[in-house]
């Protein structure tokens, strides 16, 4: 189920999981994603809430701490596996692009 739902990750999913290598709460995640992407990728609070809910439901992340209404999350082993698969997929895509795109090897 988890693999089907997150067979490929969108850019926003990818960055959320990326920053969750370290324990973060909602606002942290939004700030860190904006920081590491130089504001190219911005995640809205509503979208982030939905993503966190979905990741939790398939155990790709876990809730680590609750401070008042701040909830902290961290990636799990399932999440790390999904990230690794996505990184491999992107690497393959990038490799094919370099090899075959304009002026590269003939198909």
């Amino acid at each position: 189920m988890a693999r089907e739902k997150f067979g490929t990750l969108t850019e926003q999913m990818f960055y959320v999981l990326l920053v969750l290598q370290e324990e973060c709460y909602g606002a942290d995640i939004m700030d860190k994603v904006a920081f590491i992407t130089n504001d190219r990728v911005k995640i809205g609070a509503g979208t982030l809430y939905s993503l966190l809910e979905s990741f939790l439901s398939v155990k790709m992340i876990e809730e680590t701490r609750v401070e008042g209404r701040k909830r902290c999350y961290k990636i799990t082993e399932i999440g790390k596996t999904a990230m690794q698969k996505e990184a491999n997929r992107l690497e393959i895509l990038s490799g094919h692009f370099a090899k075959y795109w304009k002026g590269g090897e003939k198909l």
């Binding site: 969108t10 926003q12 909602g26 606002a27 939004m30 904006a34 911005k42 995640i43 809205g44 609070a45 509503g46 979208t47 982030l48 809430y49 939905s50 993503l51 209404r69 701040k70 909830r71």
Partner: protein
Amino acid sequence: MRNTKLAYLGDTIYDYEGIQRKLEREALKGWKLLKKQGKSTMKFERINPSPLKYAVTYFHEASEFNSEPTENQAVFIEMCEASGWEYVCSAGQMLIFCSDKENPTPIETGEQQKLNSIHKSMKAGYLPSYYLLVAMSLMFIGMKVYDMLHRPIYFYSELTNIMSLVVFTLLLFWEIYYIARYFVWKNKSQKSIDVGGGCVPTGGKAIQKVFYTFMAIVIVFYACSTFLRSSQTIFLSIALFVVMFGISFLILRLVKKSRLPKIASIAVYAVTSFVLIMALTFGGIMLYLQSDFNNQGEQRYLDTLPLTLENFTQIPNVEYSYKADIDKTSLLEYGKYRQYPPYGDYDSPKIDYEIFTSEHDFVRHAVLSDLLSSYDNEKDVEFEYRSIWTEIEIQGADIAYQVYRNNQPRLDKYIICKNDSIISIFFVDDFSESEIENAINILLEEI
């Protein structure tokens, strides 16, 4: 100069872009959204015109029945506030935020997540309400169609029946159109997202305007015809409707203040609304019937009747009441005529008859069938004891019937058709044959 105003945000709840645009236009005109007021309106306060940004988003756990936001909803609101948005208010599952920043990060940046949260919210609140409305409309239409088929006299002679059927049929079409439009929008949006696009515009605004205009015309026509009739029953119905709406709103407010869990709130709201509304409806009906019954005993009527007892027989010197009740629609005129002695006088003769007039064959046919079916419940009774409407000859009538039993006239009960009219008359008291013939001739000349 007023500092607050009320406005309606429309009924296309999932049209987040349209609602955002409307709120932003209001801000430019100097009105900032303050809170939800009443069942479906929003209250605005006057501000200096400014380019405020609004975000309309959806949270499936939000509900009209929650006394305060759920824990998850509060977390969601706090996350949105942390990203620079100010929470303004909620309406059902719809949450509205505002920002005075020039380019705030939108609350929804993922199209799939946005569509999912809209659909979750639609499933949690709006769609079930529309399904309930469809069921209610179908029930009312069913009741009115039943009346049309089984109680045609009542149906065709009361304008409220015909108008109710028209209004509920229109509402049913609208509700089905609303539900279908939502699913078409959702499917189109999903297809667009699947190929890298976003949610598509909602559309259908022109049809919405046409429908509202049409409904407004129907309601104005309905109201005008109601006021022109000045019937006590209709005024009572309108008063009941207003009181019921008020009660329903008050119960909702009380339930919200009671801080009960959502399910308990819904149950309390449904049960108390049902009990109070039923009590009020039946109380109102009983009050009306009681006053009508009391009036009948005391009040003397002197209406003009097409046929009176003195037209065809000798009457004692008592203060008779002459009562004519006429229900009229464009399809059927239904006159109920009674001449009766004072309350408690059981010896003096009385007369009671009805005249139905319609230009429409199908209405006359339905009325006649209804009148002729008055002894259908005796179908299983043996022939010699069974009352049967039997066709008879009456001079001047197109067709006439009298109640027979065992091939013999049993009662002086007649149905007489002539041109566009049908007369139904029952001579309960002992009148001679010539008196009855005379009375029928007078009526036939009148119609």
